[in-house]
């Protein structure tokens, strides 16, 4: 077969692959997620979106229950929400045993063809959500509140069992983390081999200080002061030992959690020495009131960033005896920028070592291209790769897809609780699900790209082997077309796993303060960087047992621009 025909087919394959890649990116842009639809108040469409995209029994059954539970909570259908959350927890439990047949199948298809098993940090979120739902049910049924409060505490005990296991695996935050903040590391970037080491330090999900704090609130509310003290104590230690730093939370969190710990110690009695220490730490800013009820307001804000797909083209460079990965960027300017930045941050040849290596292997053009390519020089292994058929299998290139996370947008300047027309206290960030999602994506990036590389090479080699078995000669036009078809099939199945719980909030803010019993009208004012203020008001019926209130605030920027305020008030 002439070289020109081969070249034409090669170009055609690349063209079609590029078209396929772009098609993969169009869908998410044009589809609104259930969370986005919910923030527009369109719950019917949001539910349709879930039933359309996820099956109750399919690979995404976990997401079906999680998304449905979130929407039902927003609709204040707490019983149904908890039914779905219970299903989700049962599914996560059942995923402990990994199916060998499914693991084997991944190698020949892609991660999207397997059962979605969720993330470790979903478990605390599920228990917290269930507890908040039970708490809301208790508030709805004041004459029969006890069983609901008990059920909320059951969730907190299950959460404790999970976090204990997690801490055993990861080490938790028992000692002060010595490394400096992750976020600044992310900006430092650029010393990759697969992902720079420093970038990926101290970003693991090790324990959950916020979950322990909320657990403390619920135990305190039901008068189980010993359990409350233990949970507040754990939360305080974790915030101080690295959780606060890892998720870029303000110092004021430590102060508030310490004040909560001092309060339960005082209520329980018998902790005079520790109490004195805590009061010294709080520098006289601690006040306790016996005739007031402690109120905790939890505000979930925004929507966690989306996982998206970054496409890479893998080719073999015979001259440089290296494999080369190049990102193929698609989408809006913002998305394209994010894709390039993610690739540069985690994979590109941007270190001095890589630059020199590129210089030695290629020409000056490659050095300049270093920031947008990743070279995997095979050196003496090149001949082995040729023998194995890797080089030949990559004749038309292979598509590799990995996930990237859209940049975190934090449009909230501050959030305040107003009482009787006056600002009363601030809601402080206690947890950043946005950063948690980002750090999880960063932590997974190395293993993900390795797995994707191995998978695509396995698929390419298997396809080559099958072609050989069925007797298609590979040096004629038919052979090239057959190879071309298998390359396309591989490209289609190479999608990255962008599945995620989309309705999780971006961040969680908390305010704790004391109020006299009775009806109190409170307003939460969320100030955005754009100057817009979102107001949410509710009348709280405060009594000795009813101290925890939850709200979700959506930040619909499009509506802000058209001066429509959307206040999705969900105060249970």
């Amino acid at each position: 077969m002439s070289a020109s025909i081969k070249k034409s087919i090669s170009l055609l394959v690349i063209l079609i692959q590029v078209c396929l890649l772009s098609a993969c990116n169009i869908t998410p842009l044009q589809q609104l997620s259930p969370a986005q639809l919910a923030q527009q108040g369109n719950f019917v469409k949001a539910k349709q979106n879930i039933t359309h995209n996820y099956s109750k029994t399919g690979n995404e059954r976990l997401l079906y229950h999680l998304e449905m539970a979130s929407l039902l909570q927003l609709e204040k259908n707490f019983e149904q929400s908890n039914t779905h959350l219970s299903e989700a927890i049962n599914l996560i439990e059942s995923f402990y045993t990994q199916s060998i047949s499914e693991l084997a199948m991944v190698q020949f298809s892609g991660p999207t063809y397997t059962t979605y098993k969720g993330k470790a940090y979903y478990v605390p979120q599920i228990h917290i959500m269930k507890a908040i739902n039970y708490n809301a049910l208790a508030q709805k049924n004041p004459s029969n509140a006890q069983p609901f409060f008990d059920a909320a505490l059951v969730e907190m005990r299950q959460l404790d069992v999970f976090l204990t296991g997690l801490k055993e695996k990861t080490g938790g935050y028992t000692t002060l983390q010595t490394n400096d903040s992750t976020a600044s590391k992310i900006n430092e970037v650029l010393t990759p081999i697969f992902a720079p080491k420093g970038l990926l330090e101290n970003i693991d999900y090790k324990d959950d200080a916020y979950a322990h704090f909320l657990s403390g609130v619920l135990f305190e509310q039901t008068g189980e002061l010993d359990s409350a003290r233990l949970q507040y104590e754990r939360a305080m230690q974790m915030y101080d030992n690295g959780f606060k730093q890892q998720y870029k939370l303000p110092d004021l969190v430590s102060h508030q959690v310490s004040a909560a710990l001092a309060r339960v110690m005082q209520k329980a009695g018998g902790y005079q020495n520790k109490l004195r220490e805590l009061k010294n730490k709080l520098k006289g800013k601690y006040e306790s009131s016996n005739d007031h009820t402690n109120v905790t307001i939890v505000q979930d804000i925004g929507i966690a960033p989306k996982r998206k797909q970054l496409n890479l083209l893998l080719k073999a460079d015979a001259q440089a005896k290296a494999l080369i990965m190049t990102p193929i960027v698609f989408g809006t300017t913002q998305e394209r920028k994010a894709q390039i930045r993610w690739f540069q941050m985690l994979h590109a040849d941007t270190s001095l070592f890589d630059m020199i290596q590129n210089y030695m292997l290629g020409d000056l053009g490659d050095v300049a291209m270093g920031t947008v390519t990743k070279r995997l020089p095979l050196g003496p292994l090149w001949d082995e790769a040729v023998k194995l058929g890797i080089v030949d299998a990559l004749e038309f290139g292979a598509r590799i897809s990995v996930t990237y996370l859209e940049p975190i947008d934090t449009p909230v300047k501050k959030s305040e609780v107003w009482l009787a027309g006056k600002p009363y206290t601030q809601l402080i960030p206690y947890h950043s699900i946005g950063l948690l999602t980002l750090q999880d994506a960063l932590a997974q990036s190395n293993s993900e790209i390795r797995a994707a590389l191995t998978r695509e090479l396995t698929k390419a080699l298997s396809a080559k082997k099958v072609l050989k078995e069925v007797g298609v000669k590979q040096d004629n036009l038919l052979g090239s077309l057959a190879k071309f078809s298998t390359s396309l099939v591989n490209a289609i199945t190479a999608s990255a796993d962008t599945r995620q719980w989309q309705t999780l909030p971006l961040e969680t803010r908390v305010a704790q303060f004391a109020l006299p019993a009775g009806e109190q009208k409170i307003t939460i004012k969320t100030y955005l960087n754009s100057g817009h203020v979102i107001e949410q008001s509710e009348t709280l019926n405060i009594n000795s047992n009813m101290g925890l209130w939850h709200t979700r605030t959506f930040l619909d920027t499009k509506r802000d621009q058209s001066s429509h305020t959307l206040s999705t008030l969900n105060m249970e």
Partner: protein, 204 residues
């Protein structure tokens, strides 16, 4: 011969496909005895509820308070169940457990039960209705209720210890019986259940 070799090479793919398809087993349902234990996990189940109720009531009725009451009052003691709080890490249908307790007591024939507050209120409403609508002969009088002599209450607690796929769950049920006249605790019972669950990391 050549074909045979080709077939041999396709065997691993066939095995793999069979394994993958075996994961899609269809749903199968069968009727089984309600007393038969089907332990799919280490969670608290119907059998635990039944066993604990029977063991505790048997222990409760073996204490001297029953005979003391019979001697003193000449009638069977009347018990009211107050609250059994679930302080475990599992959602336990406390009502089911309470019903198992009641059945175990009634089956023994040594004590009576007084309906709880909610049921009593419902019955009172019914009696009010009878006053208006039922014939004089069939009406039930107000103020003839049987007062409880003893109150039963308690808690269900649990602890969990786990390492990898192995988990030990320990349930402890504590019940107490209080004499409603003197506030004396006439019985205090405890029943423990320990369960071991082992899960494999991999399976087909």
């Amino acid at each position: 011969m050549k074909n045979n070799r080709k077939l041999t090479k396709l065997i691993p793919f066939a095995v793999l496909s069979t394994l993958a398809l075996s994961a899609c087993e269809s749903t199968k349902v069968q009727r089984i005895d309600a007393n038969q234990e089907v332990a799919l996990s280490d969670k608290w189940n119907g059998k635990d509820s039944q066993l604990v109720a029977e063991a505790m009531i048997s222990d409760m009725l073996s204490f001297p308070w029953v005979n003391d009451h019979l001697k003193r009052e000449g009638s069977r003691p009347a018990i009211i169940i107050q609250t059994v709080r679930n302080k475990s890490h599992q959602h336990i249908a406390v009502d089911t457990f309470l019903n198992d307790l009641k059945r175990a007591i009634l089956r023994s024939g040594q004590a009576d039960f007084v309906a709880n507050k909610e049921v009593r209120n419902e019955i009172r409403e019914e009696r009010k209705d009878q006053e208006l609508n039922a014939s004089l002969e069939s009406q039930n009088e107000m103020g003839q209720e049987y007062g409880a002599d003893y109150a039963l209450s308690g808690t269900i607690n649990s602890f969990v210890d786990q390492q990898g796929g192995t988990r030990v769950t320990f349930y402890q049920v504590d019940l107490r019986l209080i004499d409603m006249t003197s506030n004396r605790e006439v019985w205090n019972g405890q029943k423990k259940i320990q369960k071991l669950q082992e899960r494999s990391g991999y399976g087909f």
